[in-house]
């Protein structure tokens, strides 16, 4: 039986990623996106290993992670819901949608549900200004969202992705 620690496993995964995506500075973004997709966060250890493999400094990776909203140091939920807060969506009554989201999930914007399933965030314009209010669930766009739809979306999330997929213990 393979008795690798979690850190060792992460390191070998990162080594494979770097092997595939390259050691250029420009490889950093795709590597970080892969890590974020898989672990819902980019941990301290992952940052230091990536920096080491790319021969750059951990603080530079930290700067990139902190710059982009879609990369996170703290663990995010399996489903990240990002509601557009820019002008058009705001005028299309985004506030009602926001209230509904908070009520249904029981959290405020910027928070993650205690079970680690959902994270609620605001996003700036996602380019759906003619179809607001708009929101993103992970990579999926929902437009002309009404408070009624919010509930369906959340239920849909739980069903589509399957309970088993969201009940794994949080890694790292």
């Amino acid at each position: 039986m393979n008795l690798m620690t979690q850190q060792e496993r992460l390191r070998s995964e990162l080594e494979e990623l770097v092997e595939r995506l390259g050691t250029e500075r420009s490889s950093l973004m795709p590597i970080l996106q892969e890590v974020q997709r898989k672990y819902y966060r980019i941990s301290d250890y992952a940052i230091q290993v990536i920096a080491d493999l790319l021969d750059i400094h951990p603080v530079e990776v930290h700067a990139v992670v902190s710059f982009y909203s879609f990369l996170d140091f703290k663990p995010k939920g399996r489903f990240v819901i990002r509601l557009c807060r820019t002008l058009c969506c705001d005028m299309a009554n985004k506030d009602r949608v926001a209230r509904q989201l908070c009520n249904d999930l029981g959290i405020q914007f910027g928070e993650t549900t205690p079970d680690g399933k959902f994270t609620l965030e605001y996003a700036n314009c996602i380019g759906m200004c003619d179809q607001g209010p708009a929101l993103l669930v992970n990579d999926h766009v929902y437009t002309r969202v009404t408070p009624e739809m919010v509930n369906q979306i959340i239920v849909g999330c739980r069903q589509v992705f399957g309970l088993h997929a969201t009940q794994q213990p949080m890694e790292q």
Partner: protein
């Protein structure tokens, strides 16, 4: 139809941007010249010159903040905005290369208002009052505020500090309340030094300069070189200042306070008193130090000479083992260990190469150990009542003297590391006008120093001193026979990495000082001594990577590394500002002091011969010198826990 007119007809670019208007430049120049009109005055500049450079050439002053001659262009502070005719917005002149004829206005109402607003906005987030700041009167933000007549805070001013001051490092104090986000420290640390302590974290108005995960500076991989301090425009980064403790020791009558002064501060301290860079202040400083109340003033150059003997002997032992005894475990090339920033860099980034590092301590630490043993015994003073202060151009020396292993005398070998700037402050505080001081010499018994010790302050200096001694000890001839006036020019200069080969054609008899180490020199006859010099840790990294890859530097025998660009004279404790020009002037002062010295070779220093006769009787690299003058290193690695 000629080629030119075809081009004119088909070009759709605006007339001002047509390539045909760019004339061929002087022979040898890349590209041509282009005409530029600055405030109505016309001039021609080489293609690609920035507006800032063009303005400076014409004598037009453009205010800058994030721009620094040692660093790459950032264009973040926007102080240098100018109006470019035909462009809607103001342009940052430092980051605008001129590629087509343009017309620029440097002080229109729009420009003046924008600059003033930028200063006002920076002051909105700049906490602190100038009179309670170490950079008072030497602050770029302060001078800009003065230049633009700031007399009130248009956008407000913080009333409370927003961040806690980070005092966790022995060397560098970080006060983010004063940071104006110019990112000079970021570019210094990543580009110039390749250490990567600081970066701009988050974005937009939340941006802050931070260490990795905002950990305290003492916990991250920092080599304490202090280059960021030298380039910080405000007081956000400064050295850890022990002057209060030093004054307390001076004021305590039971303490015997000794100061040793390194070669670089004397070439730089004049700048603290308004003198031109490169005005040597060696002997005036000695008087000033005595008037401040130091009991003895010694020259660190004495132990620089001692370092040459110890480090040189160590090199000979390594070479003998490798070449004669064919011992393959011997680590070559040998690296110098005088620069504490460099030592810590190696411990962090290349711990596997620690065996290559000379075990000889730096001159500062050697002096501390010698004072609290040899000198204490000679003058019958209890070493516990001796306080040794080291005047250094360096912030990393503060870390070095606090290393736990640096207590070989039984006490803390060096109690306080003082930078040039801090001594400047102490001298002013004592009401002394340094340039007006009468000259006086160093105190005995270490008074006599050689030119070899002095040039430790410049990059290549350690190598030059070592070569002077090695040539005379091994070849048996005078250095002057090989190099004019014993100036070994190939190792001098400011090229980042220098490589020199020296063929040993003849060998002489083994001199008595090293006769216990080798039986003869025959094994070196016909050999080629390969040495290299690197300064700035980014250059050190290149050399180390080359060694790891088995390149030409892996065949070297001896390599001098200095953490700071320019060597110690560009150290993190030297007066601010620093530019390549200022460093070159300080180097001139150092080399001038060397050529004025009577004795210019370490092994001819009578005080050195005396200490080997009276105290370190087993000779260089003997038992006692191993105990007092050599040290060990810690493999630190670069993982930040």
């Amino acid at each position: 139809m000629s080629e030119k007119s075809i081009f004119e007809n088909i070009s759709r670019a605006p007339t001002s941007q047509r390539a045909s208007e760019i004339e061929a430049g002087p022979k040898g120049a890349i590209g041509g010249t282009v005409s530029v009109t600055i405030d109505g005055e016309k001039m021609k500049v080489p293609l690609g010159t920035t507006i800032l450079e063009a303005c400076r050439e014409m004598g037009v002053h453009i205010p800058t903040l994030c721009h620094h001659e040692d660093l790459c262009i950032a264009g973040v502070c926007r102080m240098c905005l100018v109006e470019v005719e035909g462009m809607r917005t103001l342009q940052a002149s430092c980051a605008y290369p001129i590629t087509a004829p343009i017309s620029i206005r440097t002080h229109t109402a729009k420009v003046r208002r924008a600059r003033r607003h930028i200063i006002d906005l920076m002051l909105k987030y700049h906490y602190g009052e100038c009179y309670a700041c170490g950079r008072n009167n030497n602050c770029e933000l302060q001078s800009l505020a003065k230049e633009y007549g700031v007399d009130y805070f248009r956008f407000g001013h913080p009333e409370k500090p927003m961040y806690e001051i980070d005092r966790s490092s022995h060397s560098v104090v970080r006060d983010m309340n004063k940071c104006v986000l110019c990112r000079r420290c970021v570019r210094t640390c990543i580009d110039l030094q390749e250490v990567g302590v600081l970066e701009a974290i988050h974005r937009g108005e939340k941006t802050i300069i931070s260490t990795y995960l905002n950990k305290p500076l003492g916990k991250v991989v920092c080599i304490n070189c202090g280059q960021c301090i030298n380039r910080c425009p405000t007081g956000a980064l400064r050295a850890n200042d022990p002057t209060d403790e030093v004054w307390a020791a001076i004021d305590d009558p039971s303490k015997h306070v000794i100061i040793q002064t390194a070669p670089s501060p004397r070439a730089g301290i004049g700048e603290c008193f308004g003198l031109e860079p490169g005005t040597p202040m060696t002997y005036q400083m000695n008087t000033a130090l005595r008037r401040c109340g130091f009991d003895k003033v010694f020259d660190t150059n004495f132990t620089a000479d001692l370092t040459i003997i110890e480090e040189g002997s160590e090199l000979l032992i390594r070479l003998y083992k490798a070449l004669v005894e064919k011992d393959e475990s011997v680590a070559l090339p040998q690296f110098t260990s005088c620069s504490p920033g460099w030592v810590k860099y190696l411990e962090h980034f290349y711990p596997e190469m620690i065996p290559n590092l000379s075990t000889a301590k730096s001159p500062q630490q050697m002096f501390g150990a010698v004072i609290k043993t040899y000198y204490a015994k000679m003058h019958n003073i209890d070493p516990k009542n001796i306080v040794t202060v080291a005047l250094m151009p360096c912030s990393a020396k503060k870390f070095e003297c606090n290393r736990p292993e640096m207590c070989d005398s039984g006490f803390k070998d060096v109690d306080y590391g003082l930078t040039t700037r801090e001594l400047g402050k102490m001298i002013s505080e004592a009401g002394i006008d340094l340039p007006a001081m009468p000259k006086s010499d160093f105190d005995d018994p270490f008074g006599t120093a050689t030119g070899s010790g002095v040039i430790f302050g410049a990059t290549g200096g350690v190598m030059e001193s070592a070569l002077r001694t090695v040539i005379e000890l091994v070849v048996g001839c005078k250095v002057e026979d090989l190099f004019d006036h014993a100036d070994i020019m190939p190792v001098r200069g400011f090229d980042g990495i220098r490589y020199v080969e020296l063929k040993i054609d003849n060998v002489g008899p083994v001199p008595s000082i090293v006769s216990h180490l080798v039986p003869n020199w025959d094994w070196l006859k016909g050999a080629t001594l390969k040495v290299a010099v690197a300064h700035g840790t980014a250059n050190a990294k290149k050399v180390l990577d080359d060694i790891k890859a088995g390149g030409k530097f892996s065949e070297c025998h001896f390599i001098e590394f200095m953490a700071c660009p320019g060597g110690c004279l560009g150290g993190g404790g030297q007066p601010i500002p620093t530019t390549p020009e200022i460093r070159a002037k300080r180097a001139e002062a150092i080399y001038a002091e060397d050529s004025a010295c009577e004795v210019r070779k370490s092994h001819e220093n009578p005080a050195i011969l005396q200490i080997y006769n009276e105290f370190l009787m087993e000779g260089p690299c003997g038992h006692l010198s191993h105990k007092l003058l050599h040290t060990s290193y810690t493999a630190r690695g670069k993982y930040i826990s």
